[in-house]
Symmetry: C2
DNA sequence: ACAATATATGCGTGAAAACGAATATGTGTA
DNA sequence: TACACATATTCGTTTTCACGCATATATTGT
């Protein structure tokens, strides 16, 4: 049942913050490191977990791996992503993550613009 | 963060079925046993897990323990309960659980009617 | 007080998860 | 080719979870 896998992905704080950031557009591993301030290993491990359950997709762009939400998310995933965004509106942790987003993205604006076109619209 | 605890509660199939059934009104342990067809111990253990995280409430009614969703659920919980109900609309497992609900309830209509007034409205 | 019923709790085990540390892989560049 | 950077994978350890089994507790009826 994919719904269970969605909740499994959502039930860890680091993963939930990653997923939430991805609802705003694609990001690469170093962005998560900067924004979440957790070690690279930890980020990669959680991304592997999400990949295995098909909650995120990734593609290589030079040395970077660009992660995004599925281009064609299931109805369940889409519904839950919207729900998540409702729920975290006023949460300081998630708000703070979003505030760090523009700065983190600025430097790689080039590939991000291109990658963004491949993302699902969950915002 | 309560949101994490919500997803922790949602990420096991048995618990998710319990929670889903509770969105239709209060139930006691034996109902879950009948509907889910899992051993009493397993039901009670999952209910303890949910109680600990304040996703369900319970009160004694004679020999029965009546479980229900919180009378005053948090915004996050309420949002996620609605989301859950959207997601499982067409899912055979959850639909089948609902179909067994009226029969399971019939015999204890008396205390259920009374208990129902204490439940939050998530339907 | 006793038996029957409903439910909860404690224990042991195996599996999964979380995480840091070390290491491996892939890519761009000198 | 060699080196630096970005990312992934493996390993060992600790914690949490899921579950069956046995047992304890609470309530009702006799």
């Amino acid at each position: 049942m994919q719904l269970i896998q969605i909740y499994q992905c959502f039930c860890d704080e680091t993963r939930l913050r990653i997923i939430h950031l991805l609802t705003k557009g694609p990001l690469c591993v170093c962005h998560f490191q900067d924004i979440l301030e957790v070690p690279q290993t930890k980020v990669s491990q959680h991304l592997a977990y999400l990949r295995k359950r098909e909650i995120v997709e990734c593609k290589r762009r030079g040395a970077w791996m660009i992660y995004s939400l599925p281009a064609q998310p299931s109805a369940e995933l889409e519904t839950n992503l919207k729900c998540l965004q409702d729920c975290v509106q006023t949460n300081p942790v998630f708000r703070s993550d979003l505030e760090k987003l523009p700065a983190a993205r600025e430097n790689e604006a080039a590939w991000l613009d291109e990658a963004a076109s491949k993302t699902c619209d969950c915002s």
